[in-house]
């Protein structure tokens, strides 16, 4: 309704309003699609399909809410409904877990020190980081990308992927830890770092499962 009113006031067509609001996010959508599909042609198809769908359902978009988050939601849903069906879901989900060779390196080596590892993250090649992000299990990858690359809030990510905020936090935690572990492994493998089983970052959640912020706040108040 709000949008309709705005359209009336400005005298602009729905197409004009949509282009003005949505197209500035084309680069971000394309970047996200590329990381979701890991294929340029499929990424472009995905962006096109998602934008046409968003245009058709533009009247459902609530004015004042975050259009970027809404467009990402349409993009991710379109990906789930079309591209992912065509791909082998099993392969996607297995991701990193199918490559156990790095674990061997980690077990055999020793780490020089924590500071060395921190510095290594800064020194790692862009291509390698990108490769490891792409290798993350899809749900982790989506959460990490939406948060770290596209700056969406936990609430917006929850909206985009359709899960509770607590689940977003858990996926982010595990995704980042896994990424850290992979990059650490790569650094050791390349000889940047001496591996040390003790220093190996764990992708496991802390002893207590990641609680949602709401739980944490309730606990504090009690």
């Amino acid at each position: 309704m709000g949008l309709f009113k705005r359209r009336k006031q400005s005298g602009a067509s729905q197409r004009e309003v949509f282009e003005r609001e949505a197209l500035p996010h084309l680069d971000a959508l394309h970047g996200m699609a590329l990381r979701l599909t890991r294929d340029e042609r499929q990424a472009e198809d995905l962006v096109q399909d998602a934008l046409v769908k968003a245009y058709r359902f533009f009247h459902r978009f609530e004015e004042g809410s975050n259009i970027k988050a809404w467009l990402f939601k349409v993009l991710v849903n379109t990906f789930y409904n079309t591209v992912r069906k065509e791909k082998n879901l099993g392969k996607l989900r297995a991701g990193v877990e199918l490559e156990p060779h790095r674990e061997r390196y980690l077990g055999a080596a020793t780490v020089a020190g924590r500071h060395a590892e921190e510095a290594t993250l800064d020194a790692l090649a862009v291509e390698e980081i990108k490769r490891e992000v792409d290798a993350l299990p899809e749900e982790f990858r989506t959460a990490v990308l939406l948060c770290d690359v596209h700056d969406l809030s936990y609430k917006e990510i929850a909206e985009v992927v359709g899960c509770p905020v607590g689940t977003v936090m858990s996926r982010l935690y595990r995704g980042r830890k896994l990424l850290q572990k992979r990059l650490h492994g790569y650094a050791v493998e390349q000889g940047y770092l001496k591996a040390d089983a003790e220093a190996e970052p764990s992708a496991e959640e802390p002893a207590q499962a990641i609680a949602s912020l709401e739980d944490f706040r309730r606990r504090k108040q009690a």
């Binding site: 959508l29 590892e117 862009v126 990108k130 992000v133 980042r176 990059l183 944490f216 504090k220």
Partner: protein
């Protein structure tokens, strides 16, 4: 409020992602200041974020994609217009018969509400009126009332038609004699048909409400101080005049001069 290392490890990501409220943020910051281990953890987390951002900067989408999207939106617009047009067509097909029925219904109601057409309405042509007059004159239908006295005829129709029926009285010299009268319809209006014997011939007169049934056409002649509309059809002459809101259509097989004389001297 102090936080344990366990809590800090759990929420360090929310801390770095800016998801904590100011009290939580302050408590975690305070802990980091005094805990080297957690500080190191936070630094590593931060570097990881930086590494991810650095490896995946926002790059412009290919120009070809922008073009493709524009074309796809054009197609969506065209499709929508087609759908709208289709919907309109379907509705039109459904609505036209309904509208026709409604229009007919309204027209019928309107005509009922209007009742007899007012004087300002469409006029009846003398020619068509003359046709009916000649028809009735020729067929000479049976009379409802046979009377030689005009007053008797007037009395007879006083409760049958919504206007005063005064059969014309022709001058004695014309030897015209009233025969009878009957109820009739001129168009959709009540009228009275009166017949006379004049010499060896006959004269028929339709008496009607001239306000309800205005007549146009014919040739206008003056006769006895009146305007008479004159029409000749298949050897018959029809003269039409009105007096006091009453119309008289006189048909005769007399010659025109004889009929004009008759009308001129009637009262």
């Amino acid at each position: 409020m102090s936080m344990s290392c366990d809590d800090v490890r759990k929420f360090i990501q929310a801390y770095l992602d800016g998801e904590l409220d100011e009290h939580e943020w302050a408590a975690l910051s305070l802990h980091l200041e005094s805990c080297a281990s957690c500080r190191r953890e936070a630094r590593t987390e931060e570097r990881l974020r930086r590494a991810v951002r650095r490896s995946l900067p926002l790059e412009p989408a290919p120009a070809s994609l922008r073009q493709r999207v524009g074309t796809a939106l054009d197609a969506a617009d065209a499709e929508r217009r087609e759908e709208d047009a289709g919907r309109l067509r379907r509705w039109t097909l459904r609505l036209v018969p309904a509208a026709a029925v409604i229009a007919l219904g309204l027209g019928f109601l309107w005509s009922r509400l209007q009742g007899p057409r007012p004087a300002s309405g469409l006029k009846t042509s003398l020619a068509s009126l003359a046709e009916q007059s000649i028809e009735w004159h020729r067929l000479s239908p049976p009379m409802d009332v046979t009377a030689t006295n005009p007053e008797a005829v007037q009395r007879y129709f006083s409760d049958k038609v919504p206007f005063a029926v005064r059969p014309p009285v022709f001058p004695a010299g014309q030897r015209a004699r009233l025969v009878g009268a009957r109820l009739a319809n001129l168009r959709e209006h009540r009228a009275v048909f009166v017949t006379y014997q004049v010499g060896g011939g006959r004269v028929s007169v339709f008496i009607f409400d001239s306000n309800a049934l205005p007549v146009a056409g014919g040739r206008v002649v003056r006769a006895g101080g009146r305007d008479v509309r004159w029409q000749e059809v298949r050897g018959y002459n029809v003269g039409l005049y009105s007096a006091g809101g009453t119309g008289y259509a006189v048909t005769s097989d007399l010659d025109p001069r004889g009929l004009v004389q008759l009308i001129a001297h009637s009262h």
